[in-house]
Symmetry: C2
Subunit: 405 residues, 2 copies
């Protein structure tokens, strides 16, 4: 039990303790904090108040981004999580530690880490099948490689933005209905509700990471909205994949949930057929029971279930490095759109409205095929925590602003 | 005329002055240097010997990577280039400046800049046509979008390696000739001879860069070998593009040639049909007359001509940012394989051997369809400099080592 008020009833309770980077009006230097209930424990302040004269861990926790701490590896993560848990539960430490608490509503949240490479997978069988049906209606929806490897591609790391940042509607080329090539603001702006995994401990160039080493490298989890301009993407993507249809913005949650906080959320992952190649085999195969919720202007429009993803994050990391590619501290790899078997489980408007043909009804009486200017999309997720508690992942939200120029 | 011995006859003469980052056995701290003939001018040492008490430029030139200097923008680049030219031509400065010269053969070269995002284009009409003919023999070789936009995709920035670094043969999934899915070392390891452009001054999220602003943002040029495992790529790349077939390694030259050094190499770029959309229109359309040379174990196997690229680097930058994506200091975007109209002008083995069906003869009597272990590939390039001089871009070389495991 934490002595912090409200922690017991909060989705940011003592079993969660996600990391973020924040500043305040009075102190604009970004610093690392840990969220508990409606408070943020300022780790820079806690370190400064302590007696450490500058060990690696205390230096890393005094940085302006999570990268140095994430780079230290699992032993350091476990140790610090233990110390923070102790500080927030031991009543004798209450007076001292309370000095380091900052109310969430006074904090300005920043990107929690500096992204290195960004990879986006395509790991939901339901999503890949739906898109196959929509885009290639007269052929097998899943391409021949899909069940053999987790299909993925590199996205733009430099346009990863923190939750709350507006998203300017992108302009670009598209092919109009009558076959003309036109330029202008995207008219099929979409979302992709995804779960992202953040690499902490790097791997070495030339040395693949096995699925069983997943937890040695992955620090934590963030929610991701991989905004997508379907019209731009549809015209550009052959033969080298999505580019400008995606690269204008990728929003991530500002709270990184440590992998350890999701121990109780581990869940069986779907059986795979055909049997995967040995490098993708897990001795303990698991996914995570995360229940996502997507809301558009306050109306919940989808509840995508993450546990049903065909390819697990451990397999994704193994695949991404099997060719010898190294993983770096700050690498973000996302699951791809999370979609379940039913229409209302789907994490993109493309699926929810079946390419715009069946608009969604919102609670204000309006309908949406794709996103309109000033629309706000919020993705949240919960996971089971220990002893019946609930972990609420940091939500990712963004509002579409009109195209420029 | 430079007072440095050999400068007049060197491809690293006074009109070139490329930037790199080096260390020495005696001083392992990486530092910025400028190459002239067979010497490197150690800028950290020059700054330390001067009287500046720490202006932005001198601080940037004392860094361990070019990024801070590149971020300062064109005015700083022009000023420093002028000062270095003065230091290396003014005989009165010879004694003092000579103290800062380090022989090239004592230097260990590093990555000259920390890569931010890496984008690879597909800008050669001959290359795209050749690959279309090889991969889709029964249809139009160029896809419908190719003449409307510079097709490109994001690559892995974390596996960009400096020239001279060995390349471990990647392992991965491929589809064998009899349709079986197998795992193992790539059997179709290839090269792609490319020219890379390095972004110095960043652009703002939401604000596209026009083609005419190219030189305000791009700091310089490096040669690139975008190693490619054709068998891995062929099986994985639908529908999201190349991933592991490319991400194991991208080698770049360790000397960044400033854009200013290529002023005399500006050349007319091919006329475009159809007329491009306004955002891709250049008021002064130009490419660069760079003559590439590709050698395999010492035998020159190709001479790709860069001037014939259909999409110019200015158009590529404009396209990459037209959706509002920002460009960051350290972004590298490469041209894609440089290929000319004739077989011997092509920058990949895929084309030179027509997918392996017509192996190359090397001077040692052996033949090559694709790369074998211990093969060394070197890409170099020359460009016309002012007054009949020749600029030689920093070569990019690498040796293939056997797959691990």
């Amino acid at each position: 039990m934490s002595w912090v008020q409200g922690a017991a009833e909060s989705n940011y309770g003592i079993h969660h303790l996600p990391y973020g980077v924040f500043s305040t009006k009075n102190d604009p230097t970004p610093r690392i904090g840990v969220r508990i209930a409606d408070q943020i424990l300022d780790l820079r302040m806690i370190v400064a108040a302590g007696t450490c004269s500058g060990c690696d861990t205390c230096s890393a926790l005094s940085a302006t981004t999570l990268n140095p701490f994430m780079a230290l590896g699992r032993d350091a993560w476990t140790q610090v999580r233990g110390q923070i848990t102790e500080a927030l539960t031991n009543n004798e430490m209450r007076t001292a530690v309370s000095q380091g608490l900052v109310p969430v509503n006074e904090a300005i949240m920043h990107l929690p880490f500096t992204p290195a490479d960004y990879v986006d997978f395509y790991a939901s069988e339901h999503h890949a099948t739906n898109l196959g049906r929509i885009l290639r209606p007269n052929s097998e929806p899943l391409l021949p490689n899909w069940r053999h490897l987790p299909v993925g591609y590199h996205g733009r790391a430099g346009t990863i933005i923190p939750s709350g940042t507006d998203v300017v509607r992108p302009c670009g080329q598209r092919k109009s209905a009558d076959g003309e090539i036109v330029f202008g603001p995207s008219v099929r702006l979409d979302i992709e509700a995804e779960v992202g995994f953040v690499v902490g401990a790097p791997s070495r160039l030339g040395k693949p990471v096995t699925p069983d080493d997943f937890a040695e490298h992955v620090f934590g989890v963030v929610l991701v909205n991989d905004w997508s301009a379907r019209d731009i993407q549809g015209w550009e993507y052959q033969p080298l994949g999505p580019f400008l249809g995606k690269s204008f913005a990728t929003s991530i949650g500002t709270w990184v949930t440590p992998l350890d906080a999701l121990a109780a959320a581990r869940a069986e992952a779907p059986e795979q057929d055909p049997v995967v190649l040995p490098y993708l085999k897990e001795s303990d195969r698991f996914g995570y029971e995360l229940s996502l919720s997507v809301s558009l202007n306050g109306t919940e429009v989808a509840r995508p279930p993450f546990a049903q993803m065909y390819w697990t994050p451990a397999q994704q990391l193994a695949h991404m490095t099997v060719n010898g590619a190294s993983a770096r501290t700050g690498d973000l790899y996302a699951s791809g759109t999370v979609s379940g078997p039913n229409r209302e489980d789907c994490g993109s408007l493309m699926e929810l409205t079946w390419a715009g043909s069946q608009p969604l009804a919102l609670s204000d009486g309006s309908t949406r095929a794709f996103l309109e200017d000033n629309d706000t999309v919020t993705i949240s997720a919960t996971a089971p925590g220990p002893r019946g508690s609930v972990i609420g992942l940091g939500e990712v939200t963004g509002t579409v602003t009109p195209a420029i120029g």
